[in-house]
């Protein structure tokens, strides 16, 4: 029988909407991230479907040029910032403390704050649709198209402010997870005993910490140009439009590693479990992840090969881009070697992880093609890049995150997702994905640029575009299958028990779902594979031997997040009273947060 000490704060309840609004429990916050991100993923997918329907035939008039431009801008922005990153965050939140043997993250209220700021930022960004002024400058928002001269209207303002709000959430979370992973590991959990998912998360957080300030400044410059007439991107004043591209891609390239490393971490967990073998080359996988994080800072101008940087700059960035392919490829070989000699069980999670390897390889190879500047001059800004990025982001990140979903669903909910529906989901996704994106390699090489709302039949690309659209529809069906699976599992799902897969990590040593305090006693870790090791770990009792203190929650994180939302709305409306109001709310909540009695 467990007994939980009376929480210090008065907001203690485990059910009802108030308990969710005030939660500081990493597990609940993880679920909040997951559900919200899934919603935005579906929204971004809907945007993609409309895009594909418009492009299914040449000269189509399903949507206007302006609407199309808003759709592809929001599709990119949503998928990057509101879907993939928060889906990864869902797993960071839920799983990392479990994997390192901690009770929660280092700063639970800051954790909640990050979630609420993300939610409000996503809502702010999408509220632009309600007034028909969704961002329309592309997810990359190149100056000087985004200047107030060439983009009058609120569209870009929504984008600039929305992204700054989201950036704040990410930076706060990165600080939280860095400290959590470095400082809250259970005794014996040395760095080189950490699960690879934890390692890849740590690297990702360092990238977020350092890359997001750069785009913040890029956006600040754009915001000041638009609101106050500064000259950062003004050609007439002697400014350089390429400044935006350098700042954006200095952020933007590390960003793609933010998007892929967590999925690689997940794959590094799933493959060993379902091969019944430890990960091959653990240290190399860890070091290659760190190397990718570091070298990732040196490749940004490969997004700018067509801008005329000059042969020396082109050569340098070509070289660094090719170099980064090496640590990436090394991971693939280590995963293959993990499976070699194993006893492979084809669960849905494993299928997705295998799918990741297959699809990411293709995306990586087209990436190597892009690394050569002259070749890239034919590929950049065409559907060839669209193919590449979707093979790495959909075939990579999404398939990897899907593997994580099927792998950790039983831990989170206590029930197993249906394997038959899961396999249907997987195969529909594989066929759909390849049918959607493989033709795009050809479409690009045969001359179709990106970001065009229509094309002429004389290009000869009608059939290929139609094929791609059919694939997209299949992907929609795949998602419906998943949603049906998730829904039915709520009531009819098979109970999972602590360890349905025979996993090696600490997360499988406790109940599914875990009790609010995670571990009844702090585990003492004696190996990298706690549950597989011949050196026995002391078993973790089902009930805590003495009362466990659990923080009760706090509403200051959500109030502070509201303050930030008000700041954003005020800036958008250029209404000083709202800005001041938002600032005041933020100010008060920071103080209240700092001085409320909240004990870990």
């Amino acid at each position: 029988m467990t007994s939980i000490a009376t929480p210090a704060s008065s907001v203690a309840r485990r059910s009802g909407i108030w308990s969710w609004i005030t939660t500081t429990d990493h597990k609940r916050i993880g679920i909040l991230y997951g559900v919200t991100a899934l919603f935005f993923f579906l929204l971004g997918g809907l945007e993609a479907l409309i895009i594909r329907l418009q492009l299914a035939a040449p000269g189509n008039t399903l949507v206007s040029a302006e609407t199309y431009n808003q759709l592809f801008t929001m599709h990119g922005t949503t998928m990057v910032f509101l879907a993939i990153m928060p889906l990864s965050a869902a797993f960071f939140n839920y799983i990392i403390p479990l994997q390192i043997g901690a009770r929660d993250v280092a700063f639970p209220r800051l954790n909640a704050f990050s979630y609420w700021v993300f939610l409000f930022g996503g809502l702010l960004l999408n509220s632009s649709f309600l007034i028909g002024a969704a961002p329309n400058g592309g997810w990359f928002g190149y100056a000087n198209l985004t200047s107030s001269q060439y983009s009058p209207g609120l569209n870009i303002d929504f984008w600039v402010i929305g992204l700054q709000v989201l950036g704040a959430a990410s930076i706060a979370a990165s600080i939280n997870f860095i400290v959590t992973i470095v400082n809250l590991r259970a005794p014996g959990m040395r760095l080189m005993r950490m699960p690879v998912f934890t390692w890849m998360t740590l690297v990702t957080q360092f990238i977020i910490l350092t890359a997001f300030p750069v785009i913040t400044i890029a956006l600040v410059f754009l915001m000041f140009d638009r609101f106050f007439g500064t000259n950062f991107y003004s050609v007439a004043a002697g400014g350089d439009v390429l400044l935006w591209q350098h700042l954006f891609w200095l952020f933007g390239h590390p960003e793609v590693y933010i998007l892929i490393l967590p999925a690689m971490g997940i794959v590094s967990e799933v493959i060993p479990t379902f091969s019944r073998k430890p990960l091959f080359g653990y240290a190399v996988i860890v070091y290659s992840g760190i190397l990718i994080g570091i070298i990732g800072w040196g490749v940004w101008s490969h997004h700018m090969f067509a801008t005329g940087l000059g042969p020396i700059a082109d050569s340098v960035f070509a070289a660094t881009t090719m170099i980064i392919a090496i640590p990436t490829g090394v991971k693939i070989f280590n995963w293959l070697a993990t499976m070699w000699g194993g006893q492979i069980r084809f669960t849905t999670a494993m299928l997705f992880a295998i799918g990741f390897i297959a699809m990411f390889t293709i995306g990586g190879l087209s990436g190597v093609m892009h690394s050569s500047p002259p070749a890239d001059l034919q590929q950049t800004d065409t559907y060839f890049v669209v193919a590449h990025l979707h093979y790495v982001l959909f075939g990579g990140a999404i398939l990897g995150l899907s593997a994580g979903a099927y792998y950790w669903w039983p831990k989170i909910t206590g029930k197993l997702l249906d394997e038959r529906l899961g396999k249907i989901h997987f195969w529909l996704m594989m066929v759909g994905m390849n049918l959607t994106f493989f033709p795009m390699h050809f479409i690009g090489l045969l001359g179709m640029p990106r970001r065009i709302y229509t094309y002429d039949t004389e290009l000869g690309l009608d059939t290929l575009n139609l094929l791609s659209t059919i694939g997209a529809l299949l992907l929609g069906v795949a998602m419906i299958v998943f949603l049906v699976n998730a829904w039915r599992t709520r009531t009819n799902g098979e109970p999972a028990g602590k360890d349905p897969w025979g996993g090696a990590g600490l997360e499988w040593a406790i109940a599914s779902p875990p009790p609010v305090y995670n571990f009844s006693v702090m585990p003492e870790v004696v190996s990298r594979l706690p549950l597989w090791s011949t050196r026995e770990m002391k078993p973790i009792p089902d009930v805590p031997p003495e009362p466990v203190h659990v923080p009760g929650g706090s509403f200051w994180p959500v109030v502070a997040a509201l303050g930030i939302l008000l700041l954003g709305i005020g800036a958008l409306l250029q209404a000083l009273p709202v800005v001041i109001g938002g600032g005041a709310v933020l100010f008060v909540s920071v103080y209240a947060w700092a001085f409320e009695p909240f004990e870990m």
Binding site: A5, R103, A106, F107, I171, S174, I175, N176, I178, V179, V182, N183, L184, R185, P187, M189, L209, T210, A211, F212, P213, V214, T216, I217, A218, V220, F221, F224, F228, G229, T230, N231, F232, A236, A237, G238, G239, D240, L243, L247, L250, V521, M522, P544, P545, E546, P547, V548, H549, Y591, E599, M600
Partner: protein, 194 residues
């Protein structure tokens, strides 16, 4: 056995809040790094308007720089006083640090208004844009630091800033010294290396 100890257990022996603050400073380095890099990239490229040579006042800014440096000294002394439980000197040095910070802001306000009168505004030219945004961001950081110090001062008067709370002052000190170091870089890059 475990629960309360577990709450304060750390893998490194370092306080989590201090670690978090160092991480935050890391991101701030990139923030100011981007601002300073942009200033450097745009140096000398203004098409019109007042340029650095015509408008920057090195002597006056040297005084404000010295003032900020002295404030860091005061901060060190404040931390030391808190650590040994010396309430009077803790409050004195905290107040001094905050005051010196306000003096710095005063100098900055004076400089900004003078520049505007002499024809350099945010939107005048590249120099105006990069200068005001860079130094303005820095000034904003100083202002937040002053608020933080005043808060600590109030807490001290409430009797809530004993040696057991020294970490709070240490972290405020980290922030303050960081802001000072950033100023040294800005002063060098903007004022000295014209």
């Amino acid at each position: 056995m475990m629960s309360h100890a577990a709450a304060h257990y750390t893998s490194t022996g370092l306080d989590s809040r201090k670690m978090a603050f160092w991480a935050f400073i890391g991101s701030e380095c990139l923030l100011f790094g981007s601002l300073i890099s942009t200033y450097l990239v745009y140096k000398g490229r203004s098409v019109v308007g007042p340029t650095t040579h015509e408008i920057l006042n090195i002597p006056v800014t040297s005084v404000s720089t010295f003032d900020l440096l002295m404030s860091s000294l005061a901060m060190v002394l404040a931390l030391s006083a808190v650590e040994r439980g010396d309430k009077i000197w803790a409050r004195g040095w905290l107040a001094t640090t905050a005051l010196l910070g306000l003096v710095f802001l005063g100098f900055q306000a004076y400089e900004f208004t003078t520049f505007v009168h002499e024809g350099l505004k945010l939107d005048t030219n590249l120099f105006g844009s990069t200068f005001f945004v860079l130094t303005g961001f820095h000034g904003g950081h100083v202002a937040i630091g002053v608020l933080w110090l005043l808060t600590l001062l109030v807490r001290s008067f409430m009797g809530k800033l004993g040696p057991d709370k020294a970490l709070n002052v240490e972290i405020a000190g980290l922030y303050w010294h960081f802001v000072d170091v950033v100023w040294i870089v800005i002063f060098t890059v903007v004022y000295l290396l014209q």
